[in-house]
Symmetry: C2
Subunit: 230 residues, 2 copies
């Protein structure tokens, strides 16, 4: 699959069909994740693949509990709408992957990590995004499960205290990939236009300042039309 197609058609998938993920495909996806860049080539990540039904069930239970706790923050119609999002619908995923970050990997002197130690976590997220896109290209759906108590999950998987659980991912083969994000389809929230998140030269400056040597089409809100995706 072409890169931009994978980017635009990637979805947070929460409904999985009964088919297993072929092992070669799973390894191909994991290898793509492992080929993310990392600060100082630190490669701080580990991928723990969970297929044992008992572990999966224990973690699905944690997600269901956290989802019900979160629902308490909503009231009346909002609560019904929240529960209808079915955020907990991950119990059919045949493969779970816990993505962790070891902040001590590479020792104390990791090139480029002096001023922003958190770049190890950021590198791990880049690996997850590679994994997500690679899954999409292989027809595998993925859901990043964020409604989770990371310490409880770490306990189930025997992950040491000093290791950070960055992402808990569920993968499987979906019936189909939605055209639009789940929350958009459910009428919960929409994607903003690119121009709303784009500044030029300094914070809050929404139009590019034109200088004589720039191209004829200025980087303005209007200039964005036709460039952005469906």
């Amino acid at each position: 699959m072409e890169l931009f197609e994978a980017i635009y058609r990637r979805r947070d998938v929460r409904d999985f069909g009964p088919d297993q993920i072929p092992r070669k495909t799973l390894l191909k996806i994991l290898d793509a994740a492992h080929h993310a860049g990392s600060v100082g080539l630190m490669q701080p990540w580990n991928f723990t693949v969970i297929q044992a039904p008992a572990s999966q069930a224990a973690i699905v239970e944690i997600v269901a509990e956290e989802n019900l706790k979160a629902a308490k923050d909503y009231h009346g119609e909002d609560r019904e709408k929240y529960l209808s999002l079915h955020l907990e619908a991950i119990h059919t995923a045949p493969v779970h992957i816990a993505v962790t970050c070891d902040s001590q990997r590479g020792g104390l002197q990791v090139v480029g990590r002096n001023t922003m130690p958190e770049t190890d976590l950021y590198s791990t997220c880049c690996a997850i995004q590679n994994l997500w896109l690679a899954a999409r290209a292989e027809g595998i759906g993925m859901c990043w499960v964020s409604l989770i108590d990371p310490e409880r999950v770490k306990q189930i998987l025997g992950i040491p205290d000093e290791i950070t659980l960055v992402g808990y991912l569920c993968l499987g083969i979906p019936e189909s990939f939605d055209e639009r994000p789940h929350l958009e389809r459910q009428g919960w929230k929409e994607r903003a236009p690119l121009e709303d998140v784009l500044f030029f030269e300094s914070w809050g400056q929404q139009n590019a300042i034109d200088s004589p040597d720039t191209e004829s089409s200025p980087l303005t809100k209007e200039g964005l039309r036709g460039v952005t995706s469906p």
Copy 2:
């Protein structure tokens, strides 16, 4: 460009040729970034594109200072080797992009963010990885500059206190893309084999446990051969 090719051929680029990035290309790359997934469709990111020579020079100066500070942690030959990495070689990049995260976007109730508030930063990193891959596919080189004092950069760009600078990116058109990562080519560090970062079922378990209903090729170290990339 095909997704896996973009993933395997993405590099941290530090040498840029004199050509400008066409505006359409820049916007295409930014739109790809904006199409990352985000917790609760929060889209917490902003992209501030910096092309003004004065701002660029001020930030290049910060990087050079931090690089010299970092060099003090190395001694003798190590120090010479460190300095030979030319981490500060970003002054030729025609485009800088500051990628920030607004942790308050979407208000207090962001779906899925109850237990792991840091997922907003993680979503922003996913956007950066999209940007990096999209740049690669368009023949644009990118460098994630991590040797930076984020507060000083925020001051130069007028970024408010409550906004987090996640990544400072330099982009341009490179002479070529290296086959291997910069630090690997310089003999500083190598990419680990995938098997070193892969566990099955629980932390530290390097071989998959086979059950009668799994496929014939077990998920073992040996099973990995031939699947992984060049």
